[in-house]
Amino acid sequence: MNIKFVARKILASFLTLLAITFVNFAIFRMVPGDPIRMMFKDPRVSIEDIEAMKVKYGLDKPMMGQYINYMKNLAKGELGISFWQKKPVGKVIAERIPRTLGLIGLSLFLAVVIGTILGAVAGWKGGSKTDSAIMGISMTLYSVPSFAFGILLMLAFAYHFAIFPLGGIETPASGFTGIRKIFDIARHMVLPSFSIVLWYIGQYILITRSSMKDVLSQPYIVTARAKGVRERRILTRHALRNAFLPLITITGVNIAFMTGGIIEAETVFSWPGLGRLFYDAVMKRDYPLLQGCFLVFAVAVVILNFAVDLLYTRIDPRVRINGEAVNEG
């Protein structure tokens, strides 16, 4: 692995993170009205109480001082206290992260596997009926908002057929342990993850297909055919591997976009993960929590992008050896 390349990427990621903290800080200072006021449901709250609260949340200081304070706390891993839950934001979020990771992990895995396979088939069979069918399906899937999928799935499979639960991560108060608990969670995962998967599949099919078509038009594919390489092997060894390269780059770019699906799915299925937390925080205008969630999303995107870059260096020898990405158009 090219150390300089990695170092450069780390530096870039760090700078991005720094900028993100600033945006994160700034946005929530733009809120019209008084966020502290919103914390009090009681209109009789006195000015003194509000002032005291401002001091408590450090909102009395000038902007720069607030930012420095914010960064100091961030460095200590403190994200503030949730207006709503009264608990440290870090703690609230930490509890939710594994659930979201589980959901998004499964969904992404299924979407990538199914999507790339179908996309590769479509690209491979370019112009055929199979291609048109897959293409039509994927564009349709891609056009349906995730939440609409969620609602349709819920109406069909949780309400009319009642095969799956209506939402949540486990059967409430079931007392399940061990394998039964795992199955219980898996059962709750099916619908939300499918609502994400269906949308991503569409996306991955489209990306893989166009990438595949692009690769298949490259001279080295003709070379491989001229060598007498079996078609299946051309697909797996020559085409797919090269088709993956832009796919990985695009995945990196799209990660920022993908946080959306998780919010929609978690909201529809009240999956108690980060997305739902974020939505609740928005609905309740719980600014410290919102800030924390946004930061976590942003950091996750940066980290995943970094991981994608590393993965890219593993797969593309040009990057591994030269430390420079070759522009794939």
């Binding site: 870039a12 700078l15 991005t16 900028a19 993100i20 945006v23 946005i27 929530f28 733009m30 809120v31 019209p32 048109s132 293409m135 564009m139 349709t140 891609y142 056009s143 349906v144 908002p145 995730s146 939440f147 609409a148 609602i151 109406l155 309400y159 038009s217 770019v253 920022a256 976009f257 946080t259 959306g260 919010i263 929609e264 909201t267 974020f278 939505y279 928005v282 609905m283 205008r285 919102l290 969630c293 946004f294 999303f297 942003a298 996750a300 995107v301 940066v302 992008n305 522009n327």
Partner: protein, 292 residues
């Protein structure tokens, strides 16, 4: 003014290719359908979409009076759908124009000027691309308050960078094309080069990007509305859905929930199809492959 037969032939080829492209054709037809709805909404509607009906017509299914049924205030779903198409198309196009304009400007300047200007602009672009889109939109929408124009602004803020990046990469490769160097050699200044040599060649990318932006905007508007961050005082497909979810009567009034979803999906599909068709046609080699 003489008629340039070659230009005509070129345009003719484009349209012929476009209409022989199955997706292009389908997309265009759907698109025209919605344009038709939007343009003639006042004629096509049965009753004004925002006027509530009488109490005995609350949530009635499709019938002779209300072709698509009524909502929970006995308003006509059909009228709402056609007026909603106006909002969706307008915010789609406005956002597309804003993002494509901003993105192209940034990408053009960054790519053409290069050096430190490029570096700074691209760092900004990278940064914006790293921000999680929907969360950012949600946060901004929550902070800025619900209004259609805020949605336009919010979507524009997160969407311009991808155009900028794409345009820049195009400009970079165009800049290396000999004809740009040639025109410079012939004595053209920077503005001429950017505007008359590079920009016209970026149009296809801008167009494809614009189409993509329209779909993203329609999508985003529906998601934000679904999450309750849309503008509840404007009739759009998103707000129709929003009210439907909020009413609690979604499960029992399919005539209310499906039309906006179907409209959103088919308009997005039509734009995706249009985009795919145009991209295909403009792909080098397609013309030859199709035998033009």
């Amino acid at each position: 003014m003489r008629v340039n037969s070659y230009k005509l032939q070129k345009a003719g080829d484009f349209w012929a290719m476009f209409f022989s492209h199955r997706m292009g054709r389908t997309g265009f037809l759907i698109f025209c359908f919605f344009i038709f709805l939007a343009l003639f909404a006042p004629i096509l509607r049965t009753v004004p979409p925002e006027i509530s009906g009488s109490a005995d017509r609350i949530l009635t299914g499709p019938d002779g009076i209300s072709w698509l049924g009524t909502d929970d205030l006995a308003r006509d779903v059909w009228s709402q759908v056609i007026f909603g198409s106006r909002v969706s198309l307008i915010i789609g196009f406005v956002t597309a124009i804003i993002t494509v304009f901003t993105g192209t400007l940034v990408g053009l300047v960054a790519g053409f000027k290069g050096g430190i200007v490029d570096e700074i602009l691209m760092r900004i672009v990278d940064f914006f691309m790293m921000l999680p889109h929907l969360p950012l939109m949600i946060v901004l929408a929550a902070v800025m308050g619900a209004s259609i124009w805020n949605i336009v602004i919010v979507i524009s803020i997160v969407s311009w960078p991808s155009t900028a990046r794409l345009v820049r990469s195009q400009v970079l490769s165009l800049k290396e094309r000999p004809f740009v160097e040639a025109i410079r050699c012939l004595g053209a200044n920077d503005i001429t080069m950017m505007m008359s040599e590079i920009l016209p060649n970026v149009f296809p990318v801008m167009f494809a990007q614009g189409v993509l932006m329209v779909t993203e905007t329609i999508y985003a508007e529906s998601v934000l509305s679904f999450l309750g961050l849309g503008d509840p005082t404007t009739i759009s497909w998103g707000t129709m859905l929003h009210f439907c979810f909020e009413s609690g009567a979604m499960a029992r009034s399919p005539w209310w929930v499906f039309p906006p979803i179907v409209c959103i999906v088919s308009l997005i599909i039509s734009f995706s199809f249009l985009g795919t068709a145009v991209t295909d046609i403009l792909t080098p080699g397609y013309k030859e492959k199709m035998g033009y």
